[in-house]
Symmetry: C2
Subunit: 260 residues, 2 copies
């Protein structure tokens, strides 16, 4: 396989942890396969999580502040802060992005959410192609078409709790705002979530199993089939962007937005 | 109605905005009804969003850092930082909590997620009642039983896009990690989400309609029926915490975790 660029974004503050070990495993495995790995270690970088007026070098004093408007102006005009620009460059250069985080309250830690809030700018990740009554170049189209995304998350719960009938809800449903609403929204091909459960008490034997399982996912990063989310502008949705009657077959819940 | 305490947590940086107006409306309406409103205006407070070792005054230098463990020790031993303690006191004193935020990437802005990540401590919001093979005092039980929660969110999208068949997914499904996985998890009675769509371009007439609609929700804060999520320990889940066969009737998707 030709060499690829992979951006690994990590939201964990302790290198001597399962997440630290998984990060090292990803770097080793992908590098051994001939790829180049760039790591954004958000805690180590002291990443600013909060999106605010300070993200733009030309924010007019006294103006009513509207983040999306400033983001549009800043992305287009080159007045975003350097930390945002650096992450956007990494993302644009990447063939695949891995988002790795412990599942906190069934979603991302704030520092990871803040990476998305600030890096996924208007004009780059959203706000594109709204001409002529069209609801945008999004959901399967957009700046990041051709790139792949993998979410790797560790949870303290048990695998059964994260099945569709499990008390927490299914992991793919819980992360739908990220897989579908964020990554697929910007055009990325999103792979099924890789969850490592019971992460607070892995034995050495369990870690051996989990690391083998993760290595497999990493090896298949460019060959595994992505989640077949339906494209917004692919004919499955009507003009009000509701799924057309019957298109979903026997699927229910959020799975109706998948084409399989 | 007897006077109640309401905690309003706001994640918006611009007072001269729809969110600013909605915040003022909530204060006015609830105060006029004889209630006491405490506001945590996270941007104005410069709330620290990132959960890290700095959240504890007694974190041993050089130790492998594990947030949940430090949170347990800090909550029990009184070594959390003052900003966390202050929010916990507000939450404990509240009869209802309103979380108000613009929907960014189909979830909370990082600053609001960081409020949950840091304030919802081990021993207060999670990590309770794991004795004897039991999977915790959670999902309908916990420290916050008897309190109510309302999520108020503004979106730039259209209402049809947030229906179950809408291209974004249904708003209740998108916010399930917050309503079910966070608020109900800690024992709160969670009201149906109050979403204000098309928020970037409300006319005066539309604002009049939306403010009347919100005022109704505020007036019914203590009388509206909460989402009837199933209690973890109420008999609907088996020992592996999977919903027992057939319990859901005709419900599908994440709605199987509701009892209606």
């Amino acid at each position: 396989m030709p060499s690829k660029n992979i951006l690994l974004v990590l939201a964990h503050s302790e290198p001597r942890s399962l997440n630290g070990a998984l990060k090292d495993l990803a770097i080793t495995t992908l590098t051994a396969a001939g790829h180049t790995v760039t790591v954004s270690d958000l805690y180590a970088m002291k990443w600013k999580a909060v999106a605010d007026a300070g993200d733009f070098t030309d924010e007019p004093a006294g103006d009513r502040f509207y983040y999306a408007r400033s983001s549009a102006r800043g992305y287009k005009g080159g007045t975003q802060t350097a930390d945002i620009v650096a992450e956007q460059k990494k993302l644009i250069a990447a063939d695949a992005v891995i988002l790795q985080f412990p599942l906190w309250w069934f979603s991302m830690p704030a520092i990871m959410k803040g990476w998305i809030d600030r890096v996924f700018a208007y004009g780059l990740a959203y706000g594109i192609g709204y001409e002529g009554g069209r609801y945008g170049t999004r959901y399967g189209e957009g700046s990041f078409v051709g790139k792949r995304a993998l979410i790797v998350t560790t949870t303290g719960g048990q695998a059964t709790h994260f099945t569709d009938r499990g008390v927490n809800g299914g992991i793919e449903d819980l992360l739908f705002p990220l897989t579908h609403g964020t990554l697929f929204y910007t055009g990325l091909d999103v792979l099924p979530v890789h969850a490592i459960n019971g992460s607070n008490r892995l034995t050495d034997e369990q870690y051996a199993i989990e690391s083998a399982r993760y290595r497999e996912r990493l090896t298949a990063l460019f060959t595994d089939a992505p989640i077949p989310f339906r494209k917004q502008n692919g004919g499955d949705y009507d003009e009000a962007l509701r799924l057309k009657p019957g298109v979903e077959g026997t699927a229910t819940g959020l799975s109706i937005h998948r084409g399989d």
